[in-house]
Amino acid sequence: MPLLLNEEQTMLRDSARGFIGDKAPVSHFRQLRDAKDATGFSRDYWRAFSEMGFAGLLVPEAFGGSGLGAVEAGVVMEEIGRTLMPSPFFSTAVLGVSALNRGSDAQKSEYLPKIASGVLLAALAIDEGAKHRPLQTAMKAARSGNGFKLNGAKAFVVDGHTADLLIVAARSAGAPGERDGLTLFLVDPKAKGVALERTAMVDSHNAARITFENVEVTADSLLGDVDQGGALLDSVLNIGCGAVAAEMVGLSDEVFGRTVTYLKERKQFGKLIGEFQALQHRAAHLYTEIEVTRAAVLKALQLIDDGAPTAPAAIAVAKAKAGTTATLAVQEGVQMHGGMGMTDQFDIGFFMKRARVCQELLGDSNYHADQLARLKNY
């Protein structure tokens, strides 16, 4: 398969770009931030997303979705990255759906059509410590009657504050660090014992800390098999990492485009600053990094869709690479914009903040380089 978007995917990109660029440019995000909006995204636009088929992009046709794959999800994420549009697309349509796709038929019938039609929002709760370490999950799931009792605390739950359904990773056996003994649960955020704090983040996007105190869940709320949630979680995290990496490609490309434009407009010492070789070479280097990253991310997404055994390594490469490239892009972006880049009035700082969050989201570049080394046995 060529490492290019096909006609279909290009059409999808154009329609995502058209909608997002038109309805939700960076000024849309700025408005939500300035208003300290309680929802943190536009429900109208989410409804439009579902009408365009984006909310159900990964939902199988049998459950009211489009039955598309990781490449298409990446296409939408890249466009979201360009304007920093706050949207439950990642939390619900990517993470939520790819988790529920591996649930029972009853679970799929109950939740997937609602997600595809835009009326149900989901959030995935994994992280507990300062860094993304899924195997270190300590939150307890103790058997209780027919079901389980959950105790523990989760952080960095993307869109947790608006979720209608929480997908929670907990430990039903074993010790933190072990792969066996992880189990995923579907939890109603309104259940007794669930306490939620919306966390104001550096990037003004949406996340929450959630504590679970003796939360009772029934056996029906098990997602997948008891103690064997590791494999399910891997598949969800793989597509999630691919999606965040695609968002970082969009973000990097946008920052780079704005920066090159600025190099062609700003004059100092009687010249356009883009005439200075010191800046030209740095811009050319960044261009190359972005193109290399774009290829690595598309490759990883294609391999996920192919179900290739090499997909996990490709995902580690994509997320690690996208993280370092985005970090470079936003730093060069601010530096080359000079003092203007430091002002809140200028958009470029928003991208720097978002890139920092995307780095940590589902594991930073160091984490994924380490994953690659482990996969290669050294």
Binding site: L3, E61, K264, L272, H285, V292, V317, N377
Partner: protein, 435 residues
């Protein structure tokens, strides 16, 4: 009526070409059934893959599936061709007979006549068993593409089959002592003398000129105008009277490059490739291929993984991790970049096939690939520690590792320095002012 039918047919064909690239899930979403023609197309490629795999399995000797450990493992062809082993000869001849020394060239010139997708499949299948290239030559990687684009029928008939069959070994006469990064300021003169030119001047960094049979060379046919004008691209035999070469000893202790001197060398005017005085166009086109080739030097699909090589000499901790945490991190981030570059190379080839490639993109790839290859060899030196410092011993294969390390330092200089590449990207892709 006839035109209506034609256009309907045309539409159907276009539709099938589009649809053949779509995945089953997408097709279902669009309500498009998989057609017979698409099945045929897909199964054609599947069949080509399985036939290729079986042929390689039967015909590639196991010794030719090991990573190359030294320059001698490369077969360069030429009038004085030397095989390092009988198996190397057998492997070369089998591939040559299929046209697979140049799989994507037309069959009439000794190529395999494969299309882009088939060529990619062949490369993938060769990589999967770590099969060595049967023939490496500047005729294949540099001159061939320029001949195919700019050559007359007679020139193509004369030169391409000999390149494909490894009969003639070529070298490249570009750089001069005072024309390095500023290549267009070259001074080697070609003076008109009836149907011939008389060529006088000096080239430098001519790779393997002392082994080459023919040279493709940039000469000045007109000194009156701007420096990029008045350059011609000309081909001649290295045994011509007045040609001499002198190897240059490098920091690696080896002499892959020469100084090459021309003293009134007589060359027929019919040996000019492309238009007289417009040789810069040919030179630039060829440089794109050269840069793509050099950028590929950073790619190593096969062979022992870098992290394992380091574990071999340094050891691992109780959890099996390389017992040098900082080096392990360096290797891992190197491998991230290396894998990403391999994707970019694949994408660049696919973009080129689709006619969407930016002609200057090979400069970005050349820059990235060569810097990466230097990093790889720094890591290899660090992994080897003091064992990698030996210069002359059987144990060290005559200092193979440090010599290779030093050789890579030229990667970011030859074929255009990293700084020149960044300048080209800034000017031609980013359109930055005054670049």
């Amino acid at each position: 009526m006839a035109s209506l039918t034609t256009s309907a047919l045309q539409q159907a064909i276009e539709f099938h070409e589009v649809a053949s690239k779509l995945r089953p899930t997408t097709l279902r979403m669009l309500g498009i059934p998989r057609t017979k023609r698409m099945e045929t197309l897909m199964s054609d490629f599947d069949q080509f893959r399985s036939e290729t795999r079986a042929w390689l399995e039967a015909n590639c000797p196991p010794e030719m599936r090991k990573p190359m450990s030294s320059d001698e493992d490369t077969f360069w062809g030429g009038r004085h061709a030397k095989y390092s082993s009988e198996l190397q000869r057998i492997w070369f001849e089998r591939m040559r007979d299929r046209g697979w020394t140049v799989p994507h060239w037309p069959k009439e010139y000794g190529g395999g006549g494969l299309d882009g997708e088939q060529t990619k499949i062949l490369r993938q299948e060769m990589a999967a068993i770590s099969a060595r290239l049967p023939l490496v030559s500047f005729g294949i990687s540099m001159l061939g593409p320029a001949l195919l684009k700019y050559g007359t029928d007679a020139q193509k008939q004369e030169h391409l089959p000999k390149i494909a069959a490894g009969l003639i070994r070529w070298c490249q006469g570009y750089s001069e002592p005072n024309a390095g990064s500023d290549l267009a300021s070259l001074q080697t003169r070609a003076e008109s003398d009836g149907d011939d030119y008389l060529i006088t001047g000096q080239k430098i960094w001519t790779s393997y000129a002392n082994y080459a049979d023919w040279i493709f060379c940039l000469v000045r046919t007109d000194a009156s105008g701007k420096k990029h004008d008045g350059i011609s691209f000309i081909l001649f035999d290295m045994t011509s009277k007045g040609v001499s070469t002198k190897p240059i000893l490098l920091i690696s202790g080896k002499s892959p490059f020469c100084e090459t001197f021309f003293d009134n060398v007589r060359v027929p005017k019919s040996h000019v490739l492309g238009t007289v005085d417009r040789g810069w166009d040919v030179a630039k086109y060829l440089l794109q291929h050269e840069r793509a080739m050099i950028s590929g030097m950073g790619e190593r699909g096969a062979g022992r993984p870098l992290g394992q090589i380091a574990v071999d000499s340094i050891g691992a901790d109780a959890q099996g991790r390389l017992d040098d945490a900082m080096l392990r991190g360096q290797i891992a981030s190197f491998e991230v970049d290396e894998a990403a570059l391999a994707c970019a190379a694949e994408r660049a080839a696919d973009l080129a096939k689709a006619g969407q490639a930016h002609p200057a993109f090979s400069s970005a790839m050349k820059y990235y690939g060569t810097e990466l290859n230097k990093r790889r060899h720094e890591i290899l030196m660090s992994s080897g520690g003091i064992d990698a410092l030996e210069w002359e011993s059987q144990r060290s294969h005559e200092g193979a590792r440090p010599r290779a390390w030093l050789r890579t330092k030229a990667n970011s200089i030859e074929g255009g320095t990293s700084e020149v590449m960044l300048g080209i990207v800034a000017k031609r892709i980013l359109d930055l002012p005054g670049a």
